[in-house]
Point group: C2
Chain length 81, copies 2
Amino acid sequence: MSKRGIELRRILAHNVRTFRRQKQLSQEELADLCGLHRTYVGSIERAERNATLSTLDTLATALNVSVPDLLIKKDIYRDEY
Amino acid sequence: MSKRGIELRRILAHNVRTFRRQKQLSQEELADLCGLHRTYVGSIERAERNATLSTLDTLATALNVSVPDLLIKKDIYRDEY
């Protein structure tokens, strides 16, 4: 995968984690909402997965955001930890 | 896949076709730019594919747009045929 492809995984990872925490959901709770395994959500948040459109759609629906929202690089990365 | 998942494939299909035509590229030319098979690009434009992040990245790079641009539903669908 191109360097930019890896960057895209990282953007998705960051955004899923940020939106999930904003909603005060654990990885397990988000996974349950999505019908995905908890370890799968974890691997998305570690930028390990080449997610598909259907996974993006499922995550966006559960987080109540749009799919583009999940893939837009935020200008400001606040310290969220 | 959810109804919204199918809608997402259709948005991608529409946007890839629209950007490709704006750049006056054939499906084959776009496929060559992407290192993908021509029939694969055709199947994306027919909303048949559950594309991955890496494919979205490859298409966006070749079309010189952002990945979110490929997945944003346009408000106005002009007659493009």
